[in-house]
Symmetry: C2
Subunit: 398 residues, 2 copies
């Protein structure tokens, strides 16, 4: 075993990973009340969640603890992270899911369909990683505002829904020249506020509709309100924000949404700059992995080092693990069911650990050849961090 | 569309399938209190279950409603059936899963290991169908005693655990000439009763150990007490009873267990005969499928007919659907992630239904060529029913 060495950057210190912050752990911005402000734990709309498995950042932002992600390739529904841009609508909207109405616009024969009617058009299931654009923000060192997510604003679940392609086909195809698909959320907007300033409405390239669905089930149960039930858009391979909850409108056209969340929000730009439509939008995800076990001293001897790896719209093809902060790497092995190209894979590497200090890192590769980078450049809002060095854990074996 | 015709046997009548009984619905035997006796619904050890998705036969026997199985290929944990031969041990045994001890016997270096120690030896995940031997008993017409399960004493979940092969290898290999693997459950046995008369201990052919695991997770969360936590044996492709819960001993040898559950229980024999070790034991499962949607009038027009199909230790290779009680068949399509050979697949067939009465049946085929039979012969305890005719549903379209 090589003597472990460290970069000048701090590695995460063990302690279950649950409460650790990256080197850049900073105060929450005004929009997100810190966990300490949440008297009594889980809010009503998420009362069914497993609080022990979550870090509660605020009423609308909770992440899965690093060690609680499970090792079967699938995230249990009661452990999946929550990130709501606005408060959930009233729970009554899930009482009769099939009665939920969705307007389909920008097609040859536009109209409003109930979920029950849409279900008659087709069905599809797809496992995919759901990940917040800001997952890993807590590992940046420049003080990006927003929830200080570590690894847990991500999970992998099985969605079942109506293929958007089947809906579009049944309605005569998209309007000629359409380049975008725009989804509008069914949140109740407060009076006296310009809707465009807070509404959840996202546009994505129309090509994404080939794999998109109107999801009504998650992990074999009706989609709960907490995750966008009765129906949400799911675009496998795309960041969470594009998977619009309680979707009430799906439109095809050439104009990006004028909502702030589209025009200036979720835009990647240099630190200090404002958001603008000319900057890249948080659409498809990138190749990423992290170690989930062990996070505390396992004792010396043989151990199984676990983690998860995915590659957004591509299939993850492999992952290497380093015990010495990236000086040497060894190929890990995927195990468990392959849930498809948009899912993550569980990986494991067996290691015999002598007493010492280890900097345990993982580095995933995508089928197309892209490799998880060592570092990821800071950006104003702290989006898209997939640098393997900051995601490494320091492990002390006594 | 052909005019539907029916066999002289009764088909299930719609009504959600939830409360319907097969033609042979009979009284429960003394060992199983009927649901009506369960004041207050779910017992404490299963209080986290989704009662609306279950038919509660007794305190220890609950099945998933036919329409509640979900359509993503995976059964949600809170919808999975429960069948306990004995009351669960105290919940305290899951407080520190890694401290749970399992004796490994009939190997070169026998000994007792904690689950924490075993986890260091390896990890595997496998999706597999868990099905009670008596699933479908309610469709027999000869009055077999026991819970009158319809379709729902079955589910498909993802297990994560320690490969039994890795444990055996670490302990020097199985005893020479061993032909069987025997698992002993950790239930507390009442005083004053011959342990062999009620203990849960099952022997299976040693070849089964190649795919077996000591499971500690189910669907991405720690295995709950309700399903055998902290650790149970999982033998993909084998009937539920062999997947011994709260396993405390794993032994390799040449003698089948002397427990009644092995010697005379779970033996397939003609109606009226007693159980004996000379009769076939309920080991590996057979090819089977059933329709899960629609179960009530969907209204005329295009509908998606859904169901699940599996083939025990083999991969299900296809499924055909009939709308006329088996006079004509059309190939259905599998959809969703392929969770592996031991899992079930969700299938769908699109149909345009005019008003009328339909006898909707499904017939699965296994990779090795075996086909789900039309009928399955009655046997004393009503085990193993996979006949497609009795599993069909009658659908009236107004």
């Amino acid at each position: 075993m090589m003597e472990p060495r460290f970069s000048r950057r701090g590695f995460l210190v063990g302690a279950g990973g649950a409460t650790a912050l990256g080197a850049g752990g900073v105060a929450f911005d005004g929009a997100h009340a810190p966990a300490a402000a949440q008297e009594g734990g889980l809010p009503d709309y998420a009362a069914w969640k497993d609080a022990d498995a979550l870090i509660i950042h605020s009423r609308n932002t909770m992440e899965t603890k690093r060690g609680a992600v499970g090792s079967g390739g699938l995230t249990a529904s009661d452990r999946l992270f929550i990130r709501n841009n606005l408060p959930s609508p009233d729970a009554s909207i899930t009482a009769d899911p099939d009665a939920w109405e969705i307007a389909i616009e920008g097609v040859a024969r536009p109209g409003t369909m109930t979920l029950g009617q849409l279900k008659r058009l087709g069905v599809t299931s797809e496992a995919s990683v759901l990940q917040c654009s800001g997952n890993g923000r807590g590992f940046f060192t420049h003080g990006a505002s927003g929830s200080q997510w570590l690894t847990g604003a991500a999970g992998c679940v099985i969605w079942t829904g109506v293929p958007v392609a089947a809906i579009v086909e049944a309605m005569g195809g998209p309007a000629e020249g359409a380049t975008l698909m725009t989804s509008t959320g069914g949140e109740t907007l407060p009076d006296g506020v310009d809707p465009a300033s807070i509404m959840v409405e996202r546009s994505v390239p129309i090509a994404a509709h080939a794999h998109a669905m109107i999801a009504f089930e998650m992990n074999g149960a009706p989609l709960p309100l907490t995750h966008g039930g009765p129906a949400r858009v799911v675009i496998p391979g795309y960041y969470g924000v594009n998977n619009v909850k309680y979707v009430k409108r799906l439109a095809f056209g050439t104009q990006e949404s004028g909502a702030k969340i589209q025009t200036s929000g979720y835009r990647v730009r240099p630190v200090g700059e404002g958001g603008a439509a000319s900057q890249p939008s948080m659409w498809d995800m990138t190749v990423k992995s992290w170690v989930t076990h062990p996070l505390t001293d396992p004792g010396s001897g043989r151990v199984q080092i676990h983690g998860v790896a995915f590659a957004g719209p591509e299939r993850a093809s492999g992952v290497a693990v380093s015990l010495d902060g990236g000086q040497s790497w060894e190929q890990a092995r995927f195990y468990g069911p392959d849930l498809g190209r948009f899912a993550w894979r569980s990986f494991v590497m067996e290691a015999d650990l002598a007493p010492g200090v280890y900097a345990v890192a993982s580095r995933a590769t995508a089928e197309g050849g892209s490799v998880q980078p060592e570092d990821f450049p800071p950006n104003e809002r702290g989006y898209g961090h997939n640098g393997w060095r900051a995601h490494a854990v320091e492990l002390t074996v006594a």
